[in-house]
Chain length 511, copies 2
């Protein structure tokens, strides 16, 4: 027995080794250490079983969606797409792979997370990292100067899924963008209105939307004494304020990024500020900031933005927050991020005690990027853009948890065509076919002689509300019994009128 314990512990190591590198045979050493304990044949079998088992695993960081998850996903997508359509958006789609060249130099440090395709001859290809760069490429390539579009599709990142919470290597993005030369802040305000509407409708609890402007940040850095070339890297450090305390952020600024204590402290004063339109007005009077052209432009636009948000009645959730920085390089103006107030338990694979309950954090973000399209245009023609991306995976996780104990229907079947006696397969198939032909969602069990009980059970398990029960006597009388599965009430319908009657019943009771 002790022998066996020892063996299985080693087998576990061996198994995890195989899982990691399925294409490699286990090292000879391991095999040798296993063999003396048990018969070689048993070892060979286990080895085979492990390899075969690995044949049908998935890449970690990716996942299948089962029917229940798909039903939730469909519900979430419907809410988001309805909102995008309500705002008059068209939709486009782009290929999942772009020429590697297209993605190069757009994501800064994150470029290392791009998935490349193997060079099998022909062009060098990469999987798309987000939907914004393909959108900009699409605009430049088709010389489109204004469009309001949404795009819902999967993007790919070589992130370490174990190190990030609720993050996947393949995940959906839901993007809404407005491209075109328009009067200031009107499209920007609509993007915020959209985030507000979607988060309200998804009913995920309280949330707030932080707003800032890259020009205000840059102006602030300038008046605080940050050298020009350090703007972007200090911006990245400020971006960590949602996860780190100011003291740690300051340490990074001073120790790693080489700012003086004084400069860091001055930044610290600004980034602690939060408010609304009033804060923008107050900062426009700030003796230092008001001297900076960039900051003034940003603050004036911020005032204007809040006046539009007031008209859209969304200011109760929007906060002008000078600590919001956002990572990506391509933003040029207003930036924003929506944050849910609720926390969720950490995913199962995360066992760190400090991660027992994590803040869901950002579920939407975006901003203005007026320079990106120009990077794809041979003549550098710019198309101003502003957009928002909904972080749908985190929303899925929350919705899944909310419905974890609920029964979610995964089909829409309205009626099961069943029989009470044997030898009625033909009658069942014929009636089912007639129902399909009139658009009624119907199922029939694929058995010649299913038991009535198992047919009723199928209805209860999958939530089918009605069952049409064929019987020999009833068929002779020219009728079919229709039973409400939940209430067990029954009515008799005349066979020749069943399709019509069933349609009426469905419209009346189950729509």
């Amino acid at each position: 027995m002790t022998y066996d314990c020892f063996f299985f512990r080693r087998l576990k190591v061996f198994a995890s080794f195989c899982r990691r590198r399925v294409s490699l045979p286990p090292p000879a050493g391991l095999m040798l250490r296993l063999q003396p304990l048990h018969a070689a044949s048993q070892c060979a079998y286990l080895y085979y079983a492990l390899l075969v088992k690995n044949k049908y695993t998935l890449l970690s960081g990716t996942r299948d969606y089962n029917p229940k998850q798909m039903a939730i996903r469909e519900k979430v997508f419907n809410i988001i797409i309805s909102c995008f359509k309500r705002h008059g958006a068209e939709t486009i789609d782009t290929p999942v792979f772009e020429l590697k060249e297209t993605l190069t130099g757009k994501y800064g440090e994150d470029s290392k997370l791009i998935y490349d395709l193997k060079d099998q001859g022909g062009e060098l290809l990469s999987l798309r990292y987000d939907l914004t760069v393909p959108f900009a490429r699409y605009l430049a390539m088709n010389k489109i100067t204004n469009i309001k579009r949404y795009h819902i599709a999967k993007v790919y990142r070589r992130d370490n899924p174990a190190m990030t919470r609720g993050r996947y290597r393949e995940f959906y993005q839901c993007d809404f963008d407005i491209a075109g030369q328009y009067d200031a802040m009107i499209p920007d305000a609509e993007c915020l209105k959209i985030v507000y509407e979607i988060l309200n409708e998804l009913d995920l609890g309280d949330f707030h939307i932080k707003v800032n402007d890259r020009r205000i940040l840059d102006g602030m850095f300038a008046v605080c004494g940050v050298p020009d070339e350090k703007f972007r890297t200090i911006c990245s450090t400020v971006d960590k304020l949602d996860k780190m305390a100011w003291e740690d952020v300051k340490k990074e600024m001073v120790n790693e990024k080489g700012l003086s204590e004084d400069v860091a402290n001055r930044i610290g004063e600004y980034v602690s500020m939060q408010g609304g339109q009033d804060l923008a007005e107050q900062l426009l009077q700030d003796p230092k900031l008001s001297q900076n052209k960039q900051a003034c432009a940003g603050l004036t636009d911020m005032k204007l933005l809040f006046s539009y948000l007031e008209l859209f009645q969304v200011t109760d959730k929007v906060v002008f927050d000078l600590s919001l920085a956002r990572g990506l390089d391509y933003y040029t103006g207003v930036i924003y991020e929506a944050i849910l107030s609720q926390t969720i338990p950490a995913p199962a694979e995360q066992n760190g005690a400090d991660e027992a309950a994590v803040s869901v954090g950002s579920v939407a973000g975006g901003g203005r990027y007026d320079g990106l399209v120009g990077m794809f245009d041979p003549k550098g023609r710019k198309v101003p853009c502003v957009g928002v991306s909904i972080g749908i995976e985190r929303i899925f996780s929350i919705m899944e948890q909310k419905t974890s104990s609920e029964k979610v229907r995964t089909t829409e079947t309205q009626v099961l065509v069943a029989s009470a006696q044997k030898n009625l397969l033909e009658e069942r198939l014929k009636l089912t076919s007639e129902l399909w032909n009139t658009g009624i969602k119907a199922e029939v069990l694929y058995k010649k002689n299913p038991k009535l009980l198992s047919q009723l059970q199928h209805c209860e398990e999958t939530g089918i509300p009605l069952v049409a029960i064929l019987g020999e006597q009833e068929l002779k009388d020219g009728v079919v019994k229709l039973r409400n599965v939940a209430s067990r009430e029954e009515v008799r319908l005349i066979v020749s009128q069943i399709v019509y009657n069933l349609s009426c019943i469905l419209t009346k009771h189950f729509d």
Copy 2:
């Protein structure tokens, strides 16, 4: 001038070179031959322009979908998804990449068309080649023994897009499959019913569905004297009968595959046979075929299948055709393929005279594959499956051509909030926001003072049926003008009741 001609001809070669290998600088030789002709600076500019231009091209064989194409795609998907749901199907999704191992050994010769990801450390990954193998992997991995599911997603093939007609490297598949141990031919018949319903609803003109059975084919090969080990390769040759004459197919059998003339002639007799249930009965009496166990099983099931198809009222389009073979290795029983009767003009890039009008060919296909799931199960447990895949890209092409001259709406906006005078931006934004809040699809131009004409033009261009026109006098009177863009009829609505009234009008006239 002659100099220029010469230069530009060479430039064309040079350009096409750059397009093929965008990441490489042009070879020094080419540059040298270009330079003597023109000033170095001009050359450098052209070189730069070519490279920049290439920066935003797409991989050939992939494409963007513009809003009009997306509107058509949505319409097609809605028809297909409605049908799948009418038949009680759930849906699942799987990642776009699978472990390379999962796809290995499933596609025979076609394996060379699989896209591999670059080995950037970690597992070896490939892009999915179809949805059937990931489905089988999903069933085995989750130990699911019965499910009726649909899956609509993109798949990837390293096909040469210039050599194939209407084929892409990235394209959608719409799959419907029934997995489970059921009574013979009932799910198989439902798959054919689904193809029939979808092709009818898509309204693509006349079509027919060819049906055959792998067991009948194998039995036929056996009684004709084909050696066992040549069954699959002869099957591939038979599969070419839809594109090649019998004489050429026969030549391939004899000259390339090494069959004797006699054997080939015997096959030729069988594969020219077409019919229905009667043909199955006739072949069951065939002195040779009736001696083969496999063929008998297939023919008996074919008879049964036709009896169910009769009940489903679809036999008018279904033909039992002994020449149908289908390429993939994994089929084990019934196979089918739907073919449209109409031809379409060849795509623009195809200039071969013989391709002026091509048959659309197969738009759906599938069959029974009872062994595939077992390949993924450690204990080899089998889950019988039958399914169908709708070839959606060809259907898109036809629908696009049908609507090429039509105006297709790409948004669903119901009303534009406009103004007749200046300085009414705030009132416009406020009313638009109220409309959004009640679920009305509304747009507003992002200009402070747009001209009424350009607002009306926007409605006409994008098909918005109604325009609410704000005016100073009207606002004082507490009314808003609502204009029907097409008929130019106008009504005056009281401001406080506009949302309610507009909802009524929309329900009454535009739903």
